[in-house]
């Protein structure tokens, strides 16, 4: 699937780094999303490498670099979710 412009909602810590709550990156999957964000906001790297979960259309993913994303998806980056 060719990359598309995907809108990414950022939670507070990442939004503070980016200076905005919402950014658009060109991506075909989550790996592309993370790579694009790291290039644009190098300070995000330590958060994006294993410390985030992501909601795609309300479904939460934690380890899914190759999960496809497109311009039609709602993509929200969240702190990594774990449990007890």
């Amino acid at each position: 699937m060719p990359p598309e412009d995907v809108t990414i909602d950022l939670y507070g810590t990442l939004a503070a780094i980016a200076g905005e709550k919402r950014v658009v990156v060109e991506a075909a999957n989550l790996r592309d999303v993370y790579a694009a964000l790291k290039v644009r906001f190098p300070e995000m790297a330590e958060h994006l490498d294993g410390n985030v979960s992501v909601s795609i259309d309300g479904r939460i993913y934690t380890e899914a670099l190759f999960e496809p994303v497109s311009a039609k998806n709602e993509v929200v980056l969240l702190p990594r979710i774990s449990g007890g």
């Binding site: 909602d9 939670y11 507070g12 810590t13 939004a15 909601s55 259309d57 309300g58 479904r59 939460i60 993913y61 934690t62 380890e63 899914a64 999960e67 709602e74 929200v76 969240l78 702190p79 979710i81 774990s82 449990g83 007890g84």
Partner: protein, 743 residues
């Protein structure tokens, strides 16, 4: 149905949804089950750990020579015996397992001894020469944040305006708070505090480690995740992960507290130095002082509401301490705080704080119960002020499919409204209260986690199945796995045995946490069974000389299907298993992946209570849990999870708390002084299972293990506050605290 098709909405179940006797029940009630401390080995030594008596102190001198010289002592270890190149991810774990330059809390491990008897090991601890330089300490979350507070990790402040003990700040929300509050008829604002509580598992941590000088070893321990224990221990000891084989014992409770390591690497390090196996078993006092309780918290909540009950805005500022290490669950607390409500204007802020207490560990829905307590208390206050029904008000504002969650995403299909509607119709909610009694209602929310998962399902020639999983059974999951395998294969439950196998026998598995096991290992079991069915159909196709595509699996049998399949007698599971050695060899089904698609879960709790105004003691009179399980695989276990969460919540709300003295030492490190509820404290907890299928699981499963502890703190606080006519804002609502409030 195709082999990889999902149909959680319309499937008619045979095995799933029944209530067979648990396969591990007999061993547990007859004392045959092997728990962590039950394991022994020939030549085994006994380990003991020296712990700091100070809340915060620099270790000036540490000399183990005299201890090493004592009869029976085979090894003494300090921090120097661990990997000095440990990964960044496990650096704090190592610092917690064995102190480096400073003792960071009362009970922090300083050194350890292995000897031929427990008595010799304890005697040797007294021979270790140690000198401390005592440093100023802080144990309260609010006090630790103030500039000028004793610094645990001295340095520049990371968050402006606070001391260096504030590690990070996170924020969620959307809309415009000013606009939202301006639209309200009433704005209610209140501050709350909750004490740190322990998971209170009955079985203390225990491990037997055997590690040779060449870095190969075995570890037996009670854990929620032996694969993770293997990875952490191998990192802390500087050995290869696959050189260490870890076996999980039966577990006497974990609730999140056994998702990391404490004594396991100590037993291995002692063993490596002594050349013999070493057992380390924590005392109850050690468990309280040195393993992770949950965070204590301090929370401010502000909510705006119209006279008709419409919520216009919500704001929560949450502060949580995670002990002497960053990582309190305040981020997840902030995400959960307003999750039950569809708000146009909402903000939740989480502040992570460190202080001189043991490193917090996960405790069932980490962070959510405290956030829920604060928010749901304010919702109750607003309902009282505006004379609104608490269930109707929550229904009016409830999150549902298509509304935007306070933490960002748009909700997929969720079952909150269904739980509220069930609460409204319940006999409990429709019953009358007597004078002096109070009723409390609360909603609660928790995520589910998926995680890396491997399963192998091996068929035997006699038509039975050996199902191997790598997720320790902390809530009856072996029975649930058997049910899902039976459902998928179309064979009786009794023909399947599920075993939690060691780390050398299966691919990697994440820990049993995040309400994930029935979801993720269940999905893996279903997929492994489908893999096996496909192979069985292949064998039938070969036997009949037809294409594999012309064979289907129905009712536990391979059947020819389609116009050109021919007329063949169906081949049963038993027959195919019996002949598999001659039709191509052994058959096993596999699944190794990270299933994604875990579904969140909501609950609504209703509580009645009354308070003895002379003693301040609270009696919980009636308690009802209503929760969305997606699909209850084994309803009795689902109900058990509901009841267990409520019982722990009752303890948290009414009595449990870590009490520190002015010297920073824990004052109540035992079950006599730290009061968990016993059976006589509890009513029969009524349950109702709501089933709104999770589209991300073949059978619709949502995890149920954690959500049940989210509403109790608030539901009980609302009930008690309504019973006495005074708002209780600090947990636990112990008798002295209630008497003070009534004064």
């Amino acid at each position: 149905m195709a082999f990889d098709e999902y149909d959680s909405e319309n499937r008619i179940f045979n095995a799933v949804g029944t209530r067979p006797i648990r396969p591990d029940g007999m061993d547990k009630v007859t004392g045959k089950a092997m728990f962590g401390a039950d394991f022994t080995m020939p030549g085994m030594l006994h380990g003991a750990i020296l712990r700091s008596p100070h809340a915060h102190a620099k270790i000036v001198k540490l000399d183990t020579a005299k201890a090493e010289a004592l009869p029976g002592v085979k090894s003494v270890i300090t921090r120097a015996d661990f990997n000095d190149k440990v990964s960044r991810a496990n650096a704090d774990v190592l610092e917690n397992v064995m102190a480096g330059e400073k003792a960071l809390y009362d009970g922090h491990a300083i050194a350890a001894v292995a000897a031929t008897s427990p008595l010799a090991a304890k005697k040797a601890l007294r021979a270790i020469e140690i000198e401390y330089e005592v440093l100023p300490h802080v144990t309260d979350v609010d006090a630790a944040m103030v500039p000028g507070a004793p610094e645990i990790r001295p340095g520049e402040p990371k968050v402006e305006g606070y001391s260096s003990n504030v590690m990070s700040k996170v924020e969620f929300g959307h809309g415009d708070l000013h606009e939202g509050f301006a639209a309200a008829d009433v704005v209610m604002e209140k501050s709350f505090k909750t004490a740190a509580t322990h998971q209170g598992y009955i079985e203390p941590h225990a491990a037997v480690g055997s590690l040779t000088a060449d870095g190969r070893g075995e570890l037996w321990c009670c854990t929620q995740g032996h694969f993770v224990a293997r990875n952490i221990c191998s990192d802390l000891l500087g050995i290869q992960a696959s050189s260490l084989r870890v076996m999980a014992s039966e577990i006497g409770g974990g609730f999140g507290g056994k998702t990391t390591v404490f004594v396991e690497p100590v037993a291995l390090a002692l063993s490596r130095k002594a050349g013999r196996p070493v057992k380390v078993v924590m005392s109850r006092e050690d468990v309280f002082r040195a393993t992770g309780p949950t965070s204590s918290s301090s929370i401010d909540v502000k909510i705006g509401m119209k006279n008709d009950g419409t919520m216009t805005a919500g704001q929560a500022i949450l502060r949580m301490q995670g002990g002497a290490f960053p990582g309190s669950p305040v981020g997840m607390a902030a995400m959960c705080a307003f999750a039950p409500y569809a708000l146009d204007h909402v903000q939740s802020v989480g502040i992570d704080v460190i202080c001189n207490r043991p490193k917090q560990a996960a405790y069932r829905a980490p962070g959510s119960p405290m956030a829920c307590f604060a928010v749901e208390s304010v919702v109750d206050m607003l309902c009282n002020k505006l004379e609104l029904d608490p269930v109707d008000t929550r229904l009016m504002n409830a999150s549902k499919e298509g509304t935007k969650a306070s933490y960002g995403p748009t909700w997929p299909r969720i079952g909150l409204i269904e739980t509220l509607e069930a609460a409204k119709k319940s006999p409990h909610y429709r019953s009358e209260l007597k004078p002096g009694q109070g009723r409390g209602v609360s909603c609660g929310f928790w995520f589910n986690h998926a995680g890396e998962t491997s399963v192998t399902l091996a068929l035997s020639p006699d038509g039975t199945v050996a199902l191997s999983v790598g997720t320790p059974d902390i809530g009856g999951s072996r029975a649930s796995m058997c049910l899902m395998a039976a459902e998928e294969l179309g064979i009786p439950y009794e023909k399947i045995r599920t075993t939690v196998v060691d780390t050398a026998s299966l691919g990697y598995n994440d820990v049993s946490h995040g309400s994930r096991v029935t979801y993720a290992s269940g999905l893996a079991t279903i997929k492994a069974a489908r893999d096996a069915k496909k192979k069985l159909c292949g064998r039938a196709a070969k036997t009949w000389g037809i294409d594999e595509d012309a064979v289907v699996w129905e009712d536990g049998m391979a059947k020819p299907s389609g116009h050109n399949a021919g007329d063949h007698e169906p081949l049963s599971f038993d027959k195919l298993c019996k002949t598999m050695g001659r039709t191509g060899g052994p058959i096993s089904g596999h699944f190794e992946a990270t299933p994604e698609g875990a579904g969140v879960s909501f609950a609504t709790h209703v509580v009645d209570s009354e308070v003895d105004r002379e003693t301040g003691a609270t009696r919980v009179l009636r308690y009802t849990v209503i929760q969305d399980a997606g699909k209850a695989i084994h309803p009795a276990y689902v109900e058990g999870q509901f009841q267990g969460g409520a019982a722990q919540g009752i303890g948290w709300a009414l009595n449990e708390e870590y009490i520190y003295g002015e010297d920073g030492r824990l004052q109540n490190a035992g079950f006599l002084d730290y009061r968990i509820p016993v059976a006589s404290d509890l009513p029969m907890i009524e349950t109702e299972i709501v089933e709104v299928p999770n589209p991300g699981h073949p059978y619709g499963v949502r995890g149920v293990g954690e959500t049940s502890i989210c509403p109790p703190l608030a539901a009980i606080a609302n009930s008690v506050s309504n019973a006495v006519g005074v708002r209780l804002t600090e947990l636990p609502m112990s008798p002295p605290r209630i008497l003070k409030a009534l004064d």
